[in-house]
Every structure is written in structure tokens, then in C-alpha cells.
């Protein structure tokens, strides 16, 4: 199978054509040898995007999302690789569940799926999960995401043991003894009478994890950073050589807790949306490289879990299909970062942190790419999403960077029907 994409722009070079043969990027060949010639209509080619933090919900919560629907959404968002969190039912804390996920992902064929194993059995924080056996089955990291690893003692053991297998540890940072509010603690939560969740609760655990990583000289990755204090501590730690990496999500640089004023549960997630001061600090952290990755924390929920009282509603929003457009519109088009830097955040850095080997576009590399329309504004519509979830706060937003085509291993995984 040979494909030529012509009339395109490569995001980082002057090339206008891409050649694919047998699932790999190839040297140029004559058009009459091609099985398919795709006219990219002047749109921009990027390496396939990588999202190192999604919740695909399968096994156990197929009414929210399946591996097939979640990866279809990923492809529509321009992703060719996603890493799925282990808080499924059963929890992905053993090799059998890991293999099951990989099998389902291969059957769906929409996107490469790299499972993340639980750090502790049942994500219950009492015993280590079988990290070595899970690695043999295919995990690329461990995390108890959905929950923090609550005690410093257990976090230390996870960091130490995982380092024997060269497995990164990703932690959801939230000191639960500080209270489990439904939104950011501050002026808005006080005004609308919702229990708050403080930035201090996130900062305390980020500082703990940095201290442990420094003390043990092992890597640690901070999930979904949302606070100014978190950015500052990670920046300082990196400057002294601590092996800390960090991610944030598009909602933390596009929204604030003001949006919760109407009790719309599509603005409810953990960590919660913070104030403008924190939003700006996240953007600063993205700009100066403190934050390594943009992830979605894609968290589909059923309508019945969201159309309830704010405090009762589940945490989380879907994000795979809006992530690139939000990041491009709010970070690149506004001049905060370059398009090359955006590719670090959405492809090269997550690939490097988890050693996925993605993002290459040289001859012989897997032909993973996505083509984006950067020039025309489009309206993001929730009813067009391929995820089962409808819990997006971005319905109706006018954005740039609509996916036109996604190819994974030489095969089309998403094609916009005009």
C-alpha cells in the first residue's frame, strides 16, 4: 500500500508532499506507483499527536466510553497515540487487564493505546501492584490517577520500586485531608456556596513529590497541574536538576472558576478550574518549558452522572476532540508559543517521558500523522463528537485547527467528511 499526500505544508519544513509505503514514511516515488493520492488542499501536516493522560473507561464503564469510541475520538482529535489511566473496573492493576486493553485497542485500530498500570493494587494505597509483570504486558507508566497516592510512605515505595523497572510514576496531586470540595476554593465558591478545594491542597502534594524525587533521585511526573504554586515549585525543582516533569490540560489555560457560577457541571473537574491568576501562571509555565506536556485528562461521563446537583456530579470533561484546536487557538495563534513548541507539548515530550518512540517523520518511521486546517475558523460542536461523552464545556466555541485527516501506521483513522 503506497500513499502520497500532496499539496500540503509540513509544520516544520518547506516540504509539500509526504510519501508513505507499507505503513512507514518513505522516500519520494512517482505518483503512478501510488495506490492513493490525497490532496491536502494546502493544510498542515503534523506528526500524530500523543496524549499521555486519558480515561477510556473500558473495562467496566462501557456506558461512558469504550476503547473503540474513545480511540475514534482520539483520531478525530489528531492523536495517533494515547495512554489510558487504570481506574477501570476491574482496575488495571495486573497483566491480564493490560493485555485485554491492548487486544481491544488493536481490534478497534483507531489509535495506538499504551496502558498505564495502577501503582497500588485496586488503587487502594495498601499494597504495590505487580509493576514488573504489567510492564512485560505493555504498560508504559504507573499511576493511581482519579486518586492521589495519599501517603508519603507509599509514594516513596512506588517511586523506588517502579524505578527498578524504569517505569515512570504519574501522580494526581491532591492532599485529601484538606477537604474534598467540588470546585476551586475562593471568591466564587464562597459566593455560590459550594465547598472549595484549595490550591494549597494541590501544592502540598506537588511539593511532597518533588521532595521525594529529589531525595531518592528518581523521576516523577506531576499530572494536570492547575496552580501557580505548582508551576513555581516545578520550575525551581527543574532548575536544581530534580527529575520532575509535568503536564496540564487545555481547560486550565482557557477557563477559570468563574464559569462555575451557573452550577454548570461541565465545568466541574479535578483539579478544579482556578482563578485568572493561576490560569496566567499555567500559560507562563507552558511558555518557559516548566510544563512539558498538554494532555486532555479525557474523562467521559454519562449524562445522568452530570445532569445532577453540582456537588453530586462526577468530575471530569471530555477533551480529545478539542485539545489541539484549543491549544492552537489559545497558545499559538495568540503568539504565546510557536507551532514547533506546541508539537513538543503535544507529541515529542510525552513520547520522550514515557519512552514511546513516537513523533518521528523520517524515512522508515511509522507513518503517524495528522492534517490540520489552521486557517479557517470552525465551530466546535458537541453533537459531532465521536466520544460517547457529551460533557464538554466548549460546545459552540469558535476555534482554529480542525482535524482534516489522521493516519496511523499508514492507515486512515479519521477523515473529515466535507
Amino acid at each position: 500500500m503506497k500513499t502520497i499526500i500532496k499539496n500540503c505544508k509540513l509544520f516544520d519544513s518547506d516540504k509539500t508532499e509526504v510519501y508513505i509505503a507499507d505503513g512507514k514514511f518513505a522516500e519520494a516515488f512517482p505518483e503512478n506507483e501510488a495506490d492513493e493520492v490525497i490532496d491536502a488542499k494546502g493544510n498542515t501536516v503534523f506528526p500524530g499527536l500523543v496524549d499521555m493522560h486519558v480515561h477510556l473507561r473500558e473495562p467496566g464503564y462501557e456506558y461512558r466510553e469504550t476503547i473503540a469510541t474513545g480511540t475514534a475520538a482520539a483520531a478525530r482529535g489528531g492523536f495517533t497515540a494515547v495512554c489510558c489511566m487504570p481506574n477501570t473496573l476491574p482496575v488495571c492493576d495486573n497483566a491480564a487487564v493490560v493485555s485485554g486493553i491492548l487486544k481491544k485497542a488493536a481490534e478497534a485500530g483507531n489509535c495506538r493505546v499504551y496502558p498505564i498500570g495502577a501503582a497500588t493494587k485496586e488503587i487502594e494505597d495498601t499494597e504495590l501492584a505487580e509493576i514488573g509483570l504489567m510492564k512485560e504486558a505493555g504498560i508504559v507508566a504507573v499511576s493511581d490517577d482519579g486518586k492521589p497516592i495519599p501517603t508519603a510512605g507509599m509514594m516513596r515505595k512506588v517511586l523506588e520500586y517502579a524505578s527498578d523497572f524504569d517505569i515512570p510514576v504519574l501522580n494526581h496531586c491532591e492532599e485529601k485531608s484538606m477537604g474534598t470540595g467540588a470546585m476551586n476554593e475562593g471568591e466564587v465558591s464562597t459566593s455560590i456556596g459550594i465547598r472549595g478545594c484549595s490550591t494549597a491542597a494541590e501544592d502540598i502534594m506537588i511539593s511532597r513529590d518533588i521532595i521525594l524525587a529529589e531525595y531518592l533521585d528518581v523521576p516523577v511526573h506531576i499530572c494536570h497541574v492547575s496552580t501557580k504554586g505548582g508551576v513555581r515549585m516545578i520550575r525551581d525543582a527543574k532548575a536544581r536538576g530534580v527529575k520532575v516533569t509535568a503536564e496540564t490540560c487545555p481547560h486550565y489555560f482557557t477557563l477559570t472558576d468563574k464559569s462555575c457560577e451557573t452550577y454548570d457541571t461541565n465545568f466541574k473537574m479535578h483539579p478544579p478550574l482556578r482563578t485568572e491568576e493561576h490560569r496566567l501562571a499555567i500559560i507562563e509555565g507552558i511558555k518557559d518549558g516548566t510544563i512539558d506536556c498538554i494532555v486532555t485528562d479525557h474523562a467521559p461521563h454519562h449524562q445522568d452522572e452530570k445532569e445532577v446537583e453540582f456537588s453530586h456530579a462526577n468530575n471530569g470533561i471530555v477533551g480529545l476532540e478539542s485539545s489541539f484546536a484549543l491549544s492552537y487557538t489559545y497558545l499559538v495563534k495568540t503568539g504565546v508559543i510557536s507551532i514547533e513548541k506546541l508539537m513538543d507539548l503535544m507529541c515529542y515530550n510525552p513520547s520522550k517521558i514515557l519512552k514511546l518512540g513516537r513523533g518521528g517523520m523520517a524515512v522508515g518511521d511509522d507513518a503517524d500523522l495528522t492534517i490540520m486546517d489552521l486557517d479557517h475558523e470552525f465551530t466546535f460542536e458537541k453533537d459531532k463528537m465521536l466520544t460517547k461523552g457529551r460533557n464538554t464545556p466548549f460546545d459552540g466555541w469558535k476555534l482554529y485547527g480542525e482535524t482534516q485527516l489522521t493516519i496511523m501506521g499508514g492507515k486512515k483513522t479519521y477523515e473529515k467528511l466535507c
Binding site: 471568591e187 465558591s189 464562597t190 459566593s191 465547598r195 445532569e307 445532577v308 446537583e309 456537588s311
Partner: protein
């Protein structure tokens, strides 16, 4: 005439003019309550349902009498002994009540924002009778009516509110309403019960009960729930009563003609010594009458809006 919005969800939505219209209407309604024949036809042919997910004899009875005095058909649903207890969702329950032709749903719910989450999905008017820690607008309106009967204007008046500010929807609604009419609100309570950012709602956070009450035109005590002690928000009732109660000595720091209010029910001897509750300055019993009057006014003005449309 009438309110701008279909619902009364909180003081946040009301303009100063709407608040004054409610208070002026309530003054008229008070005449009805004190008359021999407590009957008007303002709500004749209308149906009013109270939907309470939290127990409250006082507020519920107050709304019920208000709607009955104005001639409406009314029904009550409480969270026990109905489909509510069987796990039917709030939205489903509200839609069912709505489809039965209900004009007004009066709702109390332990979750902030619960009435907001149904209001825009049903035709009936929703009156918030207390939602979690958010608002209790008719309580603030009755407090304001009680003040209005004694003040010629709210402008520049000092209102002191002491107690568990964090969990109090009464404080939030009063702070918002009083600020809209130009009064100056001071609050005080244990720091563990003082929500972050409360000063952004236009209130002054005082440094002691004395500082809060000093030169006040009206003083309001708040109920402190004794179970808060178990969650380490204060160490003991004795200590609370000593450092945070409005004692007779404290009340002397207020203006000579200041009066004392409390939304009730009161923990005697905790936030207020019994001597204070019963003192000459106390208008707590009058607040109860004003509650019915204000609720009559609100129900009437919501229906008046409908008739204008």
C-alpha cells in the same frame, strides 16, 4: 409590576428596585395577616407545591400559610415517603411536578445550585427556600423587611452578623441583598468558619464580636450546628459561648436603638444567651410574622409577572 425573572433563585438576581417592590408589597400583605379574614384572591386558581429535601417546619409552614392566605391550591412533597426517597433524580421529580400543571415549586435542597439546575428546564416558577450553603432569599427578605420597618433607609446602616458564616446561606443572601441597598455588613465568627474571599462579597470581616457589633444598627446571630464541633471547627460549646456569643455586654456596644435578630432555630446558651434572646431589643418573634408576609409578596409578584407576559 412583578419580578423580572420566572424564578426567585437568590438575592444575586434581584435589582434594588425589585427588592424594594417585594418589601413594599410585603408591608401590605402584613395587613392581610393581621386582619380577621385572612383571605385574598391573589393566587386563586394557581397551584403551589413545596418540595423539601431537608426538614424545616418553620420555613415550610410559612410558605404554606402564605400560599393558602392567597387562595392557591397547594401540595407538599418531602424527601421521605415519596419517589424522592426511591432515588428518582431531582430533575425527573421536578419535571413530573411541572407536568401536573404546577405554577410554583418552592424548593429546599441540601445541595447548592439544586434549584438552579431545574429552573431552566421546567415551566413552573421555582422559589429557592434554601439551597445548601448558597442562598435563602426569602429569609434575607424577611430580615430586610424587619429592618425596613425600623429604618427609613438602608443606606449607610451598619448590620452585624455573628456566627458560622461558612455554612450559612442566610449570611450570603443577606450580604448580597443589604449591599445592594447600601447597608454596611460586618461579619464575625471563628476563622475555621469564615469562608475564603467573603470580603469580595462586599462585607467587612471583623476581628472580634465586639468589633463586629460596635455601632451596629441591627445585630444578627446565626445558628451554629453543634455537630461542627466534631469536625474540629470549634473545640467546645463552652468555648464557643465564651468567645463567639452575642452577650448582653456585647449588645451594649451596638447603637442604643439597635435590635437583635436570629433566623432560628436558636441554640439557647450557645450563640445567644437566653437573656439576650428574650430581651427588649429582640425582634426574633416578629421575624416569623414577617416571613409569611414576605413569602406572600414573592409568590404574588412572581404570578403578577406571569399575568403581565
Amino acid at each position: 409590576m412583578g419580578l423580572k425573572s420566572k424564578d426567585l433563585l437568590g438575592m444575586k438576581q434581584l435589582t434594588p428596585e425589585e427588592i424594594m417592590e417585594i418589601l413594599d408589597t410585603a408591608k401590605t400583605m402584613k395587613l392581610v395577616i393581621s386582619s380577621a379574614n385572612k383571605k385574598t384572591s391573589h393566587l386563586q386558581g394557581k397551584s403551589v407545591v413545596t418540595l423539601f429535601y431537608e426538614n424545616s417546619t418553620r420555613t415550610r409552614l410559612s410558605f404554606e400559610l402564605a400560599s393558602k392566605y392567597m387562595g392557591s391550591a397547594s401540595a407538599n412533597i418531602s424527601a421521605t415517603g415519596s419517589s424522592v426517597a426511591k432515588g428518582e433524580s431531582l430533575l425527573d421529580t421536578a419535571r413530573t411536578i411541572d407536568m401536573m400543571g404546577t405554577d410554583i415549586i418552592i424548593m429546599r435542597h441540601p445541595q447548592s445550585g439544586a434549584p438552579h439546575s431545574i429552573a431552566n428546564k421546567i415551566k413552573a416558577s421555582v422559589v429557592n427556600a434554601g439551597d445548601g450553603m448558597n442562598e435563602h432569599p426569602t429569609q434575607a427578605l424577611l430580615d430586610m423587611l424587619t429592618m425596613y420597618e425600623r429604618f427609613d433607609t438602608f443606606e449607610g446602616k451598619n448590620i452585624a452578623i455573628c456566627g458560622d458564616v461558612y455554612h450559612s446561606r442566610v449570611v450570603r443572601s443577606n450580604a448580597i441583598g443589604l449591599a445592594k441597598l447600601g447597608a454596611k455588613v460586618s461579619v464575625y465568627g471563628p476563622r475555621t468558619m469564615m469562608p475564603i474571599g467573603i470580603e469580595k462579597m462586599g462585607v467587612r470581616v471583623a476581628s472580634s464580636v465586639a468589633d463586629c457589633v460596635k455601632d451596629a444598627d441591627a445585630v444578627m446571630g446565626l445558628r451554629v450546628q453543634l455537630e461542627r464541633q466534631k469536625s474540629s471547627l470549634f473545640p467546645s460549646v463552652a468555648e464557643y459561648a465564651k468567645f463567639y456569643a452575642i452577650t448582653p455586654e456585647m449588645l451594649k456596644l451596638a447603637k442604643p436603638d439597635a435590635f437583635l435578630m436570629h433566623p432560628g432555630p436558636c441554640n439557647h446558651g450557645v450563640e445567644l444567651p437566653t437573656a439576650v434572646y428574650d430581651c427588649d431589643q429582640s425582634v426574633i418573634n416578629e421575624q416569623v410574622t414577617n416571613g409569611v408576609a414576605v413569602r406572600m409578596a414573592v409568590l404574588y409578584l412572581l404570578m403578577a409577572r406571569r399575568n403581565n407576559l
